[in-house]
């Protein structure tokens, strides 16, 4: 009396994920090894030109620049997110919820609108410059917008919750008695942190870093609104190749590189988790 419900459910889910999950990625891979075609989008013959082009110094430079901006963003998020998560985890339960909800409210607000808000803050005639001028701290407006700093501040603003949440999930489970034990044994704050807290929080740190790092490189609109001629993210490159130069193989190849980067980080993450598990294993 096996009903038809079960195969129908499985079939539908599988169909959806194959058509909209697997197939597009395969097509992307396919497009990256084809040749650019002015009239259509891609054509045969197969070629690795798109990848070869990515290895040219100019493109490597964009990649490196984008990597640099993303890494600075990750570092900044970690620097602010770690203490934030730690402090929050140590609060009484009611306060925890309040702090987390306060953190999530801006996150629920349109990210484009928030980027635009940052722009009004950092502009040459923006509020920050106005305030500093009025206070007499500076006597000519600072060039804040169209700089690396502006882009990093914008990315940091959008990505901070993605760092805090996994860190918080990890630190919330942290057994505070370990710190007390360490203190009883005469260890100082720095030693306790380096020897106990940090190693145990590594999975959270890593999860946060992955969640911030990879998407950051794709957020082209942040670079468009806050950056200048020099602030290009990989996302801008991909957008340019698809929606301006119409070089689909190059755009696809750029994305494949991004996918590989993501896969690499996930593999490293799994390795870390396994190591942590085996380290804790025999007791």
């Amino acid at each position: 009396m096996e009903s038809k419900t079960r195969p129908a459910v499985i079939g539908l889910v599988a169909l959806w994920l194959v058509v909209f999950g697997v197939l597009p990625i395969l097509l992307l891979l396919g497009a990256s090894v084809l040749t650019q075609d002015p009239a259509h989008f891609v054509r045969l013959p197969l070629s690795l030109d798109a990848y070869r082009q990515l290895l040219e110094p100019a493109y490597l430079q964009v990649m490196l620049r984008s990597l640099k901006l993303a890494l600075i963003t990750v570092a900044l998020c970690l620097l602010v997110g770690y203490p934030f998560a730690w402090f929050t985890a140590r609060l009484p339960a009611g306060w925890k919820t309040t702090i987390l909800v306060l953190l999530m409210i801006p996150f629920w607000t349109n990210s484009l609108v928030r980027t635009y808000a940052i722009r009004t803050l950092l502009g040459t005639q923006g509020l920050l410059n106005k305030a500093l001028l009025a206070l007499g701290v500076i006597d000519a407006p600072l060039q804040l917008i169209y700089t690396d700093l502006a882009v990093v501040l914008g990315l940091f603003y959008l990505m901070l919750p993605f760092m805090i949440l996994p860190l918080y999930a990890n630190l919330d489970k942290f057994d505070y008695r370990l710190v007390e034990a360490g203190r009883d044994l005469g260890a100082g704050f720095a030693r306790i942190f380096v020897k106990i807290v940090w190693p145990l929080s590594l999975p959270g740190v890593f999860a946060g870093c992955i969640l911030v790092f990879v998407p950051t490189m794709g957020l082209f609109y942040v670079a468009t609104l806050l950056g200048g001629a020099r602030q290009l993210l990989v996302g801008n490159l991909i957008q340019q190749q698809f929606l301006n130069a119409r070089n689909w193989p190059a755009g696809s190849a750029t994305s494949v590189v991004l996918i590989l980067l993501m896969a690499l980080m996930l593999a490293a993450y799994r390795l870390l988790l396994r190591r942590a598990a085996t380290a804790r294993g025999p007791q």
Partner: protein
């Protein structure tokens, strides 16, 4: 669970309440800041046709979008100069029905029957203008700026704006090297790229959405600008000056076309025809500072507008300038060096 139901009900209401009146529409895809909002509103008031208006900042972006939207496409698009021939050659455009465009009679003959569309089968010219040098007189003495070469002055580090448009940027370098801005010779394009690379330390940003804004905000003090944008900037702050470089400005004509994928062809014609009305064209000139092809609009303009050399360049300037032409497959070469330029700085 009442909240859930209420929410669901409210949302449903909202969706069904959205006007299903199937109003007549026309989908217009145009350059940013090219037609005053008031003109569009008036068009809707007069004809009852709602304008769905979206904008682009370069011909390449427009072209990529039109290529992608081959089923439910735009009704009116405004490509510059040679993009008309490129698009018609690739079968993206449909022939215009001139009987539906009575206002297109009596346009400036200098802008008609051009090589990019002989007999104006596919296009009607709307505005024409130039790309020259914009200077903030508060920062730089305009008298010292006469040539594209001045943008390379090391004193202007991080102060220069370039259009986010490859042909325009290459035009500048090619002119400085004494070449035609329509060259298809890869060597010449590469040499121009080499020259542009030297300019990059000076460049703060690329902007062809609304280049006047960074000038007005004091973020850049010199660079490329369209004459219309310079006109609009000067209306707000007279320190922003427009200079025709001695090597010759880059000239262009923007034309209305109707893509093959258009769904409201009749409304598209109605929109084009409306834009060519003398009063409407005059309003566009006064507001946006580009020269019109509608000769009947000229007498309607204020003295100040009609005699502005920024909007209507003297004939010798026009003669010295160069119109962009289709470079065929060489465009890919341009595009490649353009990407290198933007990426590798």
């Amino acid at each position: 669970m009442n909240i859930g139901k209420t929410l669901f009900g409210a949302a449903l209401l909202l969706l069904t309440a959205s006007p299903a009146m199937a109003a007549e529409k026309v989908y217009v895809y145009n350059w940013t800041e090219y037609i005053p909002q008031a003109v569009i509103d008036d068009f809707t008031k007069e004809t009852g046709i709602e304008v769905v208006y979206t904008t682009y900042d370069s011909n390449e972006t427009m072209y990529a979008k039109v290529k992608l939207a081959q089923q439910e496409g735009y009704d009116v698009v405004v490509p510059s100069t040679y993009f008309v021939s490129k698009m018609s050659r690739e079968g993206l455009l449909q022939g215009l029905d001139h009987s539906q465009l009575p206002n297109a009679r009596g346009l400036d003959a200098k802008m008609l029957d051009k090589p990019f569309d002989r007999g104006n089968v596919y296009s009607v010219p709307f505005m024409w203008g130039s790309t020259g040098i914009g200077v903030n007189a508060k920062e730089i003495d305009p008298a010292t700026v006469t040539s594209w070469k001045d943008l390379w002055n090391p004193a202007y580090k991080g102060k220069v704006l370039l259009q986010d448009d490859l042909r325009e940027v290459f035009h500048m370098a090619l002119k400085l090297q004494g070449r035609s801005s329509n060259t298809t010779d890869p060597k010449e394009i590469e040499a121009a790229y080499g020259l542009l690379k030297e300019l990059m330390p000076n460049v703060l940003l690329f902007n062809s959405d609304s280049p006047r804004l960074p000038y007005l905000a004091g973020e850049v003090s010199i660079g490329m600008i369209w004459n219309g944008e310079a006109w609009m900037a000067a209306e707000e702050n007279e320190d922003i000056r427009y200079i025709y470089p001695k090597e010759g400005a880059n000239l262009w004509v923007d034309s209305f076309v109707i893509p093959k994928s258009a769904r409201n062809v009749k409304n598209g014609h109605a929109f084009i025809n409306y834009m060519l009305k003398a009063e409407v064209a005059a309003q566009c000139v006064a507001q946006n500072g580009y020269a019109t092809t509608v000769l009947a609009a000229l007498p309607l303009l204020d003295e100040k507008v009609r005699t502005s050399p920024t909007i209507f360049p003297p004939p010798e300037t026009v003669a010295a300038g160069e119109f962009q032409l289709d470079v065929g497959d060489a465009l890919a070469t341009y595009q490649r060096y353009w990407e290198l330029l933007r990426a590798g700085n």
